[in-house]
């Protein structure tokens, strides 16, 4: 029997229980049950605060309703840590983070937001309406990851959710304002990207030489406003 089967409850029968599994010998993934809601994400944030002072932790990597724990050494009894996490999950209250508010000016449409037409077609909404629904919402940074400084945002209006492109753009510039399924984002690096571009912003999401290299931190809120619209 492997550690994996020891730690993972039978997912067909225990839909309300978190799934805990090993990733190699030195990392453990905790996945919350249920939907992607801010409440579940706040419970993950609570787990981070509770876990970060353990002496055996090298890195904590929050994801979308999940948390990867990387240990300094491979734990001898991972099942004990899994029990500790399960107990913390059941007892900790959700953690509210009063993040900073960023107001981000967007140049909607044009060459740097040229998937606006595709989003408009998919959602059967005129492009002006897509833009309005995009900048009316307030977004919360759930986690930072994938690329340096990239924030996973919660808060996209479901009416403008649009699946990722089957053929990614090869060289999407950093700063592109995007929609990928139910998630909204701002691309952090220039490169291949499968999300739909609807605009562009000039903010710099990551600078390794800043005292806080990543502009966004978990709990920060983002409001977009149109700087210009080009249809």
């Amino acid at each position: 029997m492997t550690a994996d089967t020891l730690l993972t409850p039978d997912r067909h029968h225990a839909t309300n229980a978190p799934v805990i599994s090993m990733m190699g010998t030195r990392a453990m993934l905790f996945e919350a049950p249920g939907e992607f809601t801010m409440r579940q994400q706040q419970r993950i944030w609570a787990l981070i605060a509770h876990t970060e002072n353990r002496p055996d932790i090298q890195e904590l990597v929050p994801g979308v309703t999940n948390l990867l724990l990387i240990f300094t050494h491979a734990p001898e009894h991972p099942e004990q840590i899994a029990d500790w996490l399960r107990n913390a999950w059941e007892t900790l209250p959700p953690r509210q983070i009063e993040g900073r508010l960023f107001e981000v000016g967007v140049q909607y449409g044009g060459a740097l937001g040229d998937d606006l037409a595709a989003v408009s077609a998919h959602t059967s909404l005129p492009p002006e309406e897509v833009i309005r629904l995009h900048h009316e919402g307030e977004y919360t940074v759930c986690a930072v990851g994938s690329a340096p400084g990239f924030g996973y945002l919660h808060g996209l209006n479901p009416r403008i959710a649009t699946p990722r492109k089957s053929v990614p753009s090869l060289n999407m510039p950093a700063g592109t304002v995007t929609i990928g399924g139910m998630q909204a984002g701002i691309s952090a690096l220039t490169g291949p990207n499968g999300w739909n571009s609807i605009g562009y912003t000039e903010i710099c999401l990551f600078d390794p030489h800043r005292s806080s290299p990543s502009l966004f931190a978990i709990g920060d809120r983002i409001r977009f406003y149109p700087e210009s619209i080009e249809l």
């Binding site: 029997m1 492997t2 550690a3 994996d4 089967t5 993972t8 997912r11 799934v19 599994s21 090993m22 990733m23 190699g24 010998t25 030195r26 990392a27 993934l29 996945e31 992607f36 090298q58 890195e59 904590l60 990597v61 929050p62 994801g63 979308v64 309703t65 999940n66 948390l67 990867l68 990387i70 491979a74 001898e76 991972p78 986690a143 930072v144 990851g145 994938s146 690329a147 340096p148 400084g149 990239f150 996973y152 952090a188 690096l189 490169g191 990551f206 390794p208 030489h209 290299p213 990543s214």
Partner: protein
């Protein structure tokens, strides 16, 4: 100081990596074969985390501008210093003006040019490793180019003529399949989501490393693996060694330059103790995954620790005896 005279693309400055910034989206980077860098640094009496040049393409030619002790590890390749052959996995000291040439390896994929004191480039977010995606670390976050000058520590004595037995010769004691690299792996989070047939094939059939493979990860080719049901996962943190299966069914092993988060189903994770073997496996190589328990994965670290401990002890003795023979006062750090 070292001047790079000739380099093919894809060669970078790396150290043991940049842990601690995954929560900002910054992956670990670092050498693909940490064991080879550790050997080089032990041979030269360096700090374990001293930086080196990681070679992935050849030939590579440098000129030493100051007296420099060096060792090339990781590969078995033709090496010459001013045209005279020198051994891999061994320490030599170059005089100013001497030229080191590294040819195409006969064995291994990634060579490590280690120098005494390490390659001195600015530390960015706790490491000298090149972060190609983020364009920082190493030399301005980019591949090395001819004409680059690298700062090193001048050699303090003429050390040469000792080396390490390559780790593959010590650590490959188990049964060895001809030309197939065996990698121990622990079943991953979504293992049970794959069909029984796919699970069986994942372990029992060899996978080939495709040309779409680099420091980010290796794409493998073989009969596609299938899930019982299609699944949309939320983004989760990943580490080097994780084996994910995109919708097309051919696995990808994430490596040193991997993103910090992923979203594909996870079938297994290669244990850390075997990642160096993957770093030395070339494109076209066949690999086979061998199922491994958590306990066995932890135990697999032991032979590596013993190998490095033994080497550390021998090198310390040898360097101390060299120094006393050369009349250097004892009491200094070996």
């Amino acid at each position: 100081m070292i001047t790079i005279l000739e380099t093919a693309p894809l060669n970078t400055i790396q150290d043991l990596g940049r842990p601690g910034y995954r929560n900002l989206g910054v992956g670990s980077s670092g050498v693909m074969d940490p064991l080879a860098l550790k050997v080089g640094n032990i041979l030269l009496g360096n700090e374990p985390g001293a930086a080196c040049i990681e070679l992935q393409t050849y030939p590579f030619i440098i000129r030493f501008e100051t007296p420099t002790s060096f060792a090339v590890t990781g590969i078995d390749a033709p090496l010459t210093l001013d045209g005279v052959p020198v051994l891999a996995w061994s320490v030599e000291t170059a005089a100013p003006g001497q030229v080191l040439q590294v040819g195409i390896p006969k064995k291994g994929a990634r060579g490590y040019v280690c120098v005494s004191g390490g390659i001195d480039v600015p530390v960015v977010l706790g490491s000298r490793s090149t972060q190609l995606r983020g364009s920082f670390g190493g030399i301005e976050g980019r591949f090395l180019e001819a004409g680059d000058e690298l700062v090193t520590q001048p050699a303090t004595g003429h050390l040469s003529g000792y080396g390490a037995v390559p780790p593959a010769r010590i650590l490959d004691t188990g049964p060895c399949e001809e030309k197939t690299v065996l990698l121990r792996a622990i079943p991953g989070t979504d293992y049970a989501r794959f069909t029984e047939d796919s699970r069986e094939r994942f372990w029992n059939h060899p996978w080939r490393i495709t040309p779409q493979s680099n420091r980010v990860g290796y794409r493998l080719s073989g009969a596609p693996l299938t899930l019982h049901d299609r699944v949309e996962l939320r983004s989760y943190g990943i580490i080097p060694g994780i084996v994910q299966v995109p919708p097309a069914g051919e696995p990808i092993v994430q490596l040193a330059d991997a993103n910090t988060a992923g979203g594909y189903p996870r079938i297994a994770t290669v244990i850390e103790a075997d990642l160096w073997r993957l770093g030395q496996a070339r494109i076209g190589t066949a690999i086979r995954f061998v199922e491994c328990s958590h306990e066995a994965g932890v135990e697999a670290e032991q032979p590596i620790s013993h190998y490095l401990d033994d080497l550390r002890l021998m090198v310390a003795h040898y360097r101390a005896s060299c120094q006393s023979r050369n009349g250097v006062k004892s009491g200094g750090k070996a």
